[in-house]
């Protein structure tokens, strides 16, 4: 098909989808496929003999609670009348943490998000955007597909092309035009669907606009290309775990569980479909009042409250299932208890200065003026997927990979340091006990990765097997058990000798004879030299500081330099940035695991390396 035909096809598709939402369910009789509607379970309580079954929900709200809510409503109504008074603002915090009465959420949320003002200030804008979307939107197909999958178990959204489904479609299409940098990103349907439970179409549009571009929430950065805010918040989340729940963090690392797997929806849609809806609303109440630090604190709170249970789960799928599915069905604590815990978490994090990863950098905020129409290019009109990654995308992907591998690396550090304490004579050999064996398929893949990895840092982590706890590793354990029976007179011996320590400056890599120096300016008085003595022996002299504490985070100090296009074995020098701790890392892909490692004349691994990443201290 030529471009013209493809454009025509896209226009036709947009037209068709829009028309259906404009006509609505009542005017689409006989035109909605049965598969588009979930089975209406409310009518499925009659058994085959005709008996109707009573399937009442468990009565969770005690009668006195209902009374409390009625009392609260009265107070809130009064407060609404004097919203801007200092007294109200003072009371607001306490009352919101107690929960906004459901009947008043529509009003309070609107106030907190300043919806009325936005709507009045941009009168006519929503309609304008919707009209533009009808003519130009390139997101219609994706939005349509997601509207069909959003809250289908809710009575508002259950029927295909119901009124609320139509509103949801319109709000998302209009917003995608309003904020062309974001357009539509999966996840936004969840936000808009919650807002639409309480607001009309246009209010929901402005509430969504506030959530994305008001700096208090700044969700814009979550949804733009590369998801920079997600990366930033995940890193912060990791910092919090490392500080407050190191054991849990290690537990996650052990199973190769990156936070992105369990927490994406926490950050993306503010806990929708990850905690029970009643609790989700309570968190939203507070989020709308206090902003993004609530998300950070709630993420921490969830793990804190369930740490004990999670520590008992010894498998990645069990952990993820618990956090994603079990906690959505039944959180295990009453909402009030969770909210008190959340409040305490917020204080705790604030004391530790970890309550927020900082204000959004400007690139996470809208760069273009909102509401100004920009005609999409033909490629996006047709809906072709881009063939190549943009620089931003490459960086974002590198970040995801780095996150996974950092966790793997930290786990290895842990194992090394643990085995140090167990056997001091063979502290180095301890690492070799590491029981991960390597998947044949897995390790070759890692090599392939190196060539596509764009950042120099990454190649350090990824050129060998680096998905340490990554579950594919178990695959061949039975095979490699057999392998290790060989004796150790390997063809590739490697001896690594340590120079005595007089270290008082940061050791750096000296220029290798075969390559230009990665850091020409960084020659230190105590250089590391890698000297080839024969084909199979390399001596590496490193300034060594025996007082160095056990490693924390390791950073490569020089960018990747290759001697050979087909290099298989990698040596790396790492420091923790303060020069107190030096590391040599050896990485060998599993196919080449023929290398006995000898340290100062002592054989470290008896036969050959049984894992392909090895750290020397």
């Amino acid at each position: 098909m030529n471009e013209e035909a493809l454009l025509a096809r896209a226009t036709e598709e947009r037209e068709r989808i829009f028309q259906r939402y404009e006509r609505g369910r009542d005017n689409l009789v006989g035109q909605i496929d049965p598969w588009e509607d979930p089975e209406f379970e409310d009518y499925h309580k009659t058994d085959r003999y005709g008996f109707i079954h009573d399937e009442r929900l468990p009565q969770k709200t005690a009668p006195q609670k209902v009374n409390i809510e009625v009392e609260r409503e009265k107070k809130w109504v009064k407060m609404l009348g004097t919203w801007d008074s200092p007294a109200t603002q003072e009371k607001l915090h306490r009352r919101i943490y107690k929960g906004i009465p459901n009947s008043l959420r529509i009003k309070i949320w609107g106030k907190l998000l300043d919806v009325a003002r936005l709507r009045a200030a941009h009168s006519g804008k929503y309609r304008e955007m919707l009209t533009l979307a009808r003519r130009w939107s390139t997101d219609v197909r994706q939005i349509d597909s997601d509207v069909n999958r959003q809250f289908r178990e809710h009575q508002f959204y259950r029927a295909r092309y119901s009124e609320k489904q139509c509103s949801l479609f319109h709000v998302l299409c209009a917003y995608a035009m309003y904020n062309a940098e974001v357009g539509y990103c999966q996840g936004m349907a969840g936000l808009a669907a919650v807002l639409l439970l309480y607001m009309d179409e246009e209010d929901a549009f402005w509430a969504l606009a506030a959530l994305l571009s008001n700096s208090k929430y700044a969700m814009h950065g979550l949804y733009i290309e590369g998801f920079p805010k997600l990366t930033r918040f995940l890193e912060h989340h990791d910092r919090i775990l490392t500080k407050f729940m190191p054991k849990l963090k290690q537990h996650f690392d052990k199973f190769g569980l990156d936070a992105i797997l369990y927490s994406l929806k926490w950050f993306f849609v503010c806990f929708v479909e990850r905690v029970p809806f009643s609790l989700c609303l309570r968190v939203w109440d507070i989020y709308l009042l206090d902003g993004e630090r609530v998300i950070t604190a709630m993420a921490y709170t969830i793990l804190k409250l369930h740490k004990k249970q999670i520590m008992k789960l010894n498998d990645m799928d069990l952990i993820v299932n618990y956090i994603q599915v079990k906690l959505h069905k039944d959180f295990g604590y009453p909402d009030d208890v969770v909210i008190s815990a959340l409040e305490r978490s917020m204080e705790e994090l604030k004391r530790a200065r970890l309550d927020t990863p900082g204000p959004p950098p400007s690139k996470e905020l809208p760069q273009r003026t909102l509401g100004v129409f920009v005609e999409p290019d033909n490629k996006s009109k047709i809906g072709q997927r881009a063939e190549t990654f943009s620089e931003t995308e490459k960086q974002a992907r590198a970040n995801v990979i780095l996150r996974r591998e950092k966790a793997a690396l930290e786990l290895q550090e842990l194992r090394v340091s643990q085995s140090d304490t167990v056997s001091e004579h063979s502290g180095l050999a301890g690492a070799a006990r590491c029981d991960d064996s390597v998947s044949a398929l897995g390790s070759r893949r890692s090599l392939a990765d190196t060539s596509v990895t764009s950042t120099a840092d990454l190649s350090v982590f990824s050129s060998g097997r680096s998905h340490a706890p990554d579950n594919s590793l178990d695959t061949h354990s039975n095979v490699s058990d057999g392998d290790t029976g060989s004796n150790g007179s390997g063809i590739c011996g490697m001896s690594i000798q340590r120079a005595p320590s007089t270290a008082h400056s940061t050791p750096r890599a000296t220029p290798h004879p075969h390559s230009a120096s990665p850091h020409p300016s960084s020659v230190s008085p105590h250089p590391v030299s890698v000297s080839p003595l024969s084909d199979d022996v390399v001596r590496i002299h490193v300034t060594y500081n025996p007082l160095a504490a056990s490693p924390s985070r390791l950073h490569p100090i020089s960018p990747s330099k290759r001697f050979d296009e087909h290099s298989k074995l990698t040596l790396g020098l790492f420091t923790n940035g303060t020069s107190s701790d030096n590391r040599i890392r050896i990485q060998v892909p599993s196919e080449d695991l023929l290398t006995p490692v000898v340290d100062s004349g002592r054989i470290i691994t008896q036969h050959y390396m049984d894992k392909d990443v090895y750290d020397l201290k």
């Binding site: 597909s145 997601d146 999966q186 998801f227 063939e387 596509v452 392998d483 063809i491 040596l571 080449d592």
Partner: protein
């Protein structure tokens, strides 16, 4: 912890948004269809352990968001996958055209010898079909990838697809182990000899300093 399986294979489902990846996975892992009304944001996975020629094979199947923007997350998970299912929707021409693009994604991000399979899903919706079975087959021949039409809704060919992919991975893996390690139990000397022949270059020439 005692292992309850002999092998663990990591599989990946990719394809345009809405083609039914999650439904296929749900059909396979839970033998049910009703959850098709959830869109995958980012990445998710399910587990099923199958019996393959007397071996217990645990399949860890990764499900991915189809929206283009999420490829920065999802392609990071191509690494480590042993098998990839490329899914398109037979009622959606564009999702079929995009298969080529997805294959390119695999070439750039996954291991070179990853097992692949193309699935044309929703084949129960015959009245809405835009992509004929022949075109699917043609594409599969062009890329030398196995192909099958599936229906997650009617539970058609879903089991077959996963079992075929798993069997291919197992076969490839065993073949490879045999080739690289013909006498595993007799020790490492044999192995070294092979290795030396294959890679005569000196050790250092294969070494790099980071």
């Amino acid at each position: 912890m005692a292992k309850t399986y002999d092998y663990l294979f990591k599989l990946l489902l990719i394809g345009d948004s809405g083609v039914g990846k999650t439904s296929i996975l749900f059909r396979f892992s839970e033998d049910a269809f009703n959850i098709s009304f959830i869109s995958t944001i980012g990445i998710d996975f399910k587990i099923r352990t199958i019996d393959l020629d007397g071996k217990k094979v645990k399949l860890q199947i990764w499900d991915t968001a189809g929206q283009e923007r999420f490829r920065t997350i999802t392609t990071a998970y191509y690494r480590g996958s042993m098998g990839i299912m490329l899914v398109y929707d037979v009622t959606n021409e564009k999702s079929f055209e995009n298969i080529k693009n997805w294959i390119r994604n695999i070439e750039e991000n996954a291991s070179a010898d990853v097992e692949k399979m193309i699935l044309g899903n929703k084949c129960d919706l015959d009245s809405k079909r835009q992509v004929s079975k022949e075109r699917g087959e043609q594409l599969a021949i062009e890329y030398q990838i196995k192909f099958v039409e599936t229906s997650a809704k009617d539970s058609l060919n879903v089991e077959t697809a996963f079992f075929t992919l798993a069997r291919d991975i197992k076969a490839k893996m065993e073949k490879k182990q045999e080739a690289s390690n013909p006498q595993a139990r007799s020790g490492g000397h044999q192995l070294k000899a092979n290795e030396q022949q294959r890679k005569p270059a000196s050790w250092l020439s294969r070494c790099s300093l980071l």
